[in-house]
Amino acid sequence: MERAAAGGARMSAVLDIRGLRKSFGGLVVADEITLSLRPREVVGLIGPNGAGKTSLFNLITGVVRPDAGQIVMGSTRIDGMTMAERARSGIARTWQHARSFRSLTVLDNLLLGVHDYPGDSLLGSLLQRRINRKREREAETRAMMLLERVRLAHKAHALAAELSYGQQKLMGMARALMGDGVCLLLDEPMAAVEGRTYAIMRDVIQEEAERGQAVCLVEHNVGFIRDLCSRGVFMSAGRVLADGPVDELMRVKELKALYFGAAA
């Protein structure tokens, strides 16, 4: 883990957040946030409830627009883009509550994760049927491989609504990986997940980081963060209070008092 952090620091960032600000009326959810996500790194966003962790994800993915500041991917500013454009430029995200497309099958859920598919548009769907069939087969192969990885291949044709909560989170993870992004944001991937699902999720996250993705996750499970994250970012009241190796963060008394308290 230490090795990954040291190696990552020298690599250029996948995502650069500079001076990001956002407030809803008097509530400041992002106060001059500056943060870089680098390839092969697993960054854990930690902090008490209401610290602005999920809000930061919402700002990065375009669910909400920042009041000020920049979000840069590679050399492109993405903070003016729509959610869909940001996703196509390489940001993938999972949600705290899986947000499955419940009336579709597991396989169809994943197939929707492919970018640049002529069948996505109304006319493309009707007119480019041969290309569509070809792309559909390619996408299905890819989806089945991902379902194997999260051990859901046997559920490919089940409706998403029929999956257990843990399985839905695994499906959400696989769906986020369909687009071949470079930056993976995971909102509480381990919340209400245990046992086998926990192990599968951990392995997938680790593999994705090793493949070169910049992974950033919000998580309350301290054991999991110690286990997996090379770097921790401590947030409170919309501000980044500390940014460094997880073990060091855990030794800081003030942060413990703010968050770890009884857990540490």
Binding site: T61, G62, V63, T82, M83, A84, E85, A87, R88, A92, R93, W95, R99, S100, F101, R102, S103, L104, D108, N109, L111, L112, G113, H115, Y117, G119, D120, S121, L122, L123, G124, S125, L126, R129, N132, E136, R175, A176, M178, G179
Partner: protein
């Protein structure tokens, strides 16, 4: 006489079917409750008639042009659906509906409240009604096939996902806004084409034909037939067109028979929403149509 009557009834049912199928695209598959659909029917009817009367366009060309005009006219309304949804969108669409109706009511070009006469006919001669019915049935078959292909394909899958969770879909790189614009344009185009055919078959247009009463009738057809089903709207259109005709055979005075129709429509909608919300053709509930609409209303803001 009875044959003539049956042909006319069949024509009206098919026209309603076309209109209901097009509304179902927006309501059932798009999850957007718009009451402004007869407006596109009206815009289509008037544009095609006027193009044929004043610009000398051949009737088929005028009909196609009307479809294109309606597809374009749908953009402002669809753009509103990107910002407001649920009840608010119903009100916005109602505003569009009433606004366009008032424009038609007040300009000379459309004949104002007096209506538009002398519209060129689609066919001439003794078989004009049979031929017209044939064209309508053909149009309905083509639209049915088009919708079926679209819904069973990848775009249909994306639409279902959009009704389930719009943000989650956007996060996968799909643009729900573009999808809504596209589905609205297609839907309005079909409605406009149907309206154009109506004008060139019945040869008279009046603004009252495209008012809120027809919005309710249309909505009833889709709900009774089954939102987000392929055949439902067509079936609903036939039922809702034929039932009021049956009432007329009872020989009731107009003062009773016309409110009776309203009562029957309202009762049908209520009965279906309570007892069979998926409509006549709906199987298990697929999160479509009114489901998506009411679901969004009930969902607590995250």
């Amino acid at each position: 006489m009875p044959i003539q009557y049956l042909i006319t009834l069949a024509m009206l049912a098919t026209l309603s079917g076309l209109l209901a199928m097009s509304l179902n695209l927006v309501l059932g598959y798009g999850g957007l409750l718009s009451v402004a659909h007869p407006m596109f029917y009206g815009i289509g009817a008037y544009s095609s008639a006027l193009l044929a009367m004043h610009a000398g366009a051949p009737v088929p060309i005028a009909c196609i042009a009307a479809a294109v005009i309606c597809a374009l006219a749908s953009v402002p309304l669809a753009a509103c659906s990107l910002r407001v949804s649920g009840d608010y969108f119903v009100i916005v669409s109602m505003g569009f509906q009433l606004g366009v109706q008032q424009i038609i009511n007040n300009i000379d070009l459309t004949g104002a409240t007096g209506g538009l006469n002398d519209i060129p006919s689609l066919f001439q001669g003794p078989f004009r009604d049979v031929l017209s019915l044939g064209v309508l049935l053909l149009a309905a078959a083509v639209v049915l096939l088009l919708i079926r292909t679209l819904i069973h394909g990848p775009f249909g899958r994306a639409l279902t996902a959009m009704r389930n969770d719009e943000s989650a879909l956007a996060m996968l790189g799909r643009d729900p806004m573009r999808m809504k614009l596209a589905i609205f344009a297609l839907s309005a185009g079909i409605a406009g084409f149907a309206g154009a055919l109506y004008g060139h078959i019945f040869l008279f247009l009046s603004p009252t034909q495209f008012g809120l009463e027809s919005s309710t009738a249309l909505l009833t057809m889709v709900v009774v037939g089954g939102t987000a089903t392929i055949w439902g709207p067509l079936l609903g259109a036939v039922v809702i067109t034929v039932v009021p005709q049956a009432i007329q055979f009872l020989n009731l005075p107009v003062s009773i028979s016309s409110p009776l129709q309203g009562i029957i429509f309202s009762l049908l909608v209520l009965v279906f929403l309570f007892l069979r919300p998926q409509g006549l053709m709906g199987g298990r509930r697929g999160g479509g149509g009114l489901d998506a609409w009411s679901g969004r209303r009930l969902a607590a803001p995250a």
